[in-house]
């Protein structure tokens, strides 16, 4: 069992490595994608500077709080999108019959699909998060926690991508809905939860996992609490298990006309 997990992870890492090498062939485009993504994220600081120039404190949230949230959000998003970009493309992969290529491989299908693609600009997101953390003068301990929680949050984010992508097994034109659910998570996670009322806070905690991907990790970095950490860990296990369960269940409904494509 452990050997199988090790083998699967090894192949997944190799897939990521070769995808990265392929992307690095065009160096200008590679660097431009990363730098422009950092610039792209930085634009939102202007938005918050304007808001805080009108009112210095919004329900107890200050610019520093927003920066922490943005750092966590960008980094979580970046981690998920870089390592598991295939998870966010799952709906289209299913609809276009591209799963066939992965089904013939003697490895875990979901892990192979999820790690089959990378998004270079996501490196810019991860770096942006790190730069913001350094900018707000975080300690070394906070930086280490930031990296760990970015990985945990990013994995939950990718699992959510798989869960929404599984809609493709039910309806062939559900990619719009899948993408919308993912964009809801991304959009909400860059705004402090304090601006929402209790009903919305419930939805973003239990239905769309914004709390597990961004809010909880962000709190844990600066106010570590073992109970909250356990909640995050349980959320991670539930989301990943649910992603595998739904994917395997959906796979039984999957049919295609044997589309074979080479993976280069």
């Amino acid at each position: 069992m452990l050997m199988a997990v090790k083998n699967n992870l090894k192949v997944a890492c190799l897939s990521i490595k070769y995808n990265l090498m392929k992307q690095m062939v065009n160096k200008t485009s590679f660097i431009m994608n990363i730098l422009f993504m950092m610039l792209n994220n930085a634009f939102f600081i202007i938005q918050w500077l304007v808001i805080f120039s009108i009112k210095s404190d919004i329900n107890g949230i200050t610019l520093n709080g927003v920066l922490k949230l943005w750092a966590m959000s960008a980094s979580t998003y970046g981690f998920g999108m870089f390592f598991f970009y295939g998870a966010f493309d799952l709906n289209e992969t299913i609809t276009n019959g591209l799963l066939d290529t992965f089904l013939v491989q003697p490895k875990n299908v979901l892990l192979m699909v999820a790690t089959s693609k990378i998004r270079v600009s996501a490196i810019g997101d991860m770096l942006y998060g790190l730069v913001i953390m350094i900018f707000i003068k975080s300690s070394l301990r906070e930086l280490i926690l930031f990296i760990i929680f970015s990985m945990m949050g990013g994995t939950i984010f990718a699992a959510f991508g798989v869960i929404t992508g599984c809609l493709g097994f039910i309806s062939p034109r559900s990619d719009g809905l899948s993408n919308s659910l993912i964009s809801i998570l991304v959009s909400v996670s860059t705004y402090p939860k304090e601006i929402f009322d209790k009903g919305v806070q419930f939805i973003i905690s239990f239905i769309i996992p914004v709390a597990s991907t961004v809010y909880l990790p962000c709190n844990l970095i600066f106010n570590f609490d073992i109970k909250v950490f356990l909640v995050l860990l349980i959320s991670l296990i539930i989301h990943v298990s649910l992603a595998f369960f739904l994917f395997n269940k959906g796979l039984k409904r999957y049919s295609s006309t044997n589309l074979m494509t080479p993976r280069t």
């Binding site: 485009s29 431009m32 634009f43 939102f44 938005q47 919004i58 600009s121 990619d175 919308s180 919305v200």
Partner: protein, 263 residues
């Protein structure tokens, strides 16, 4: 002109097949409006307070119209299509056709957005009336004027995006430039009116497409002023002419770099 109308018609017919998919794309828009309503409620302590010339009602309608407009206007599928045409070589097949490729893209763009425009008017009006209430400063008389600047704004927007996308002839991946353009339009003209910025920034913005693409049309719908209409329209005519020339120049120059190897 007739051939471009046929391209527009064919694209529109294609989009009509997937109305459900179109509606699902407005999820994100609804959510953003909801977030901004919550955010501005915290900023305006008193609903009668006026911030930089905007009441709470005007500000929310500005953001709502701006967001609706922004959602419709950017057309990732089209710009990605142009990039792929160039990078994967389909352009060699398309330049053979009896149309001018940038104009073909413009016709496709209008076919793509036509249904989105109608849907967004319906969705935005319903959302606005439910979440904000009636726009106090709105007058039906302003619609013909706003319509003119909106058409110009769409034209400037698409020619600008085509000009950036056809730069794939030189840089392979122009998408990062489109992200930055999108963020400029979003942050400086959509989520806030330009009056929220300092006078110096406002002056700079007036010379950029932010003024003609996003701010102008939205402002005129929220709080019509004939002087602003004239100023936006003049700026639009000048910018459109400049951008069309740049777009055609970049395309013509890039077109010469195409090598057709048969097949």
């Amino acid at each position: 002109m007739k051939k471009y109308f046929r391209i527009f018609e064919a694209t529109l017919n294609d989009k009509l097949q997937y109305l459900g998919e179109l509606l699902s794309k407005f999820f994100g828009f609804t959510l953003m409006v909801f977030i901004f309503v919550n955010l501005w409620k915290h900023i305006y302590e008193d609903p009668n307070e006026i911030i930089n010339g905007y009441t709470f009602n005007m500000m929310l309608w500005y953001v709502l119209i701006g967001e609706a407009y922004y959602t419709v206007m950017k057309n990732r599928d089209l710009t990605r299509g142009i990039k792929e045409d160039i990078v994967f070589g389909n352009i060699a097949y398309k330049i053979n056709k009896p149309y001018f490729y940038p104009f073909y893209c413009v016709a496709q763009y209008f076919g793509n957005i036509m249904l989105k425009v109608i849907t967004s008017v319906f969705v935005a009006t319903t959302l606005g009336l439910l979440l904000i209430g009636k726009l106090e400063t709105f007058s039906l008389k302003t619609i013909p004027f706003a319509f003119i600047v909106i058409v110009f704004a769409f034209l400037i927007n698409i020619f600008l995006r085509i000009a950036i996308s056809v730069s794939s002839f030189y840089i392979e991946d122009p998408e990062p430039f489109l992200w930055v353009l999108d963020k400029f339009l979003l942050v400086f003209g959509t989520v806030f009116p330009i009056e929220m910025y300092s006078n110096t920034i406002q002056t700079i913005i007036k010379f950029t497409p932010i003024y003609t693409i996003v701010y102008g049309p939205t402002k005129l719908l929220v709080d019509f002023d004939f002087e602003i209409f004239k100023s936006v329209l003049v700026a639009q005519i000048i910018q459109l002419a400049v951008i069309v020339i740049i777009c055609c120049f970049v395309y013509r120059k890039g077109e010469k770099k195409v090598n057709v190897n048969g097949g």
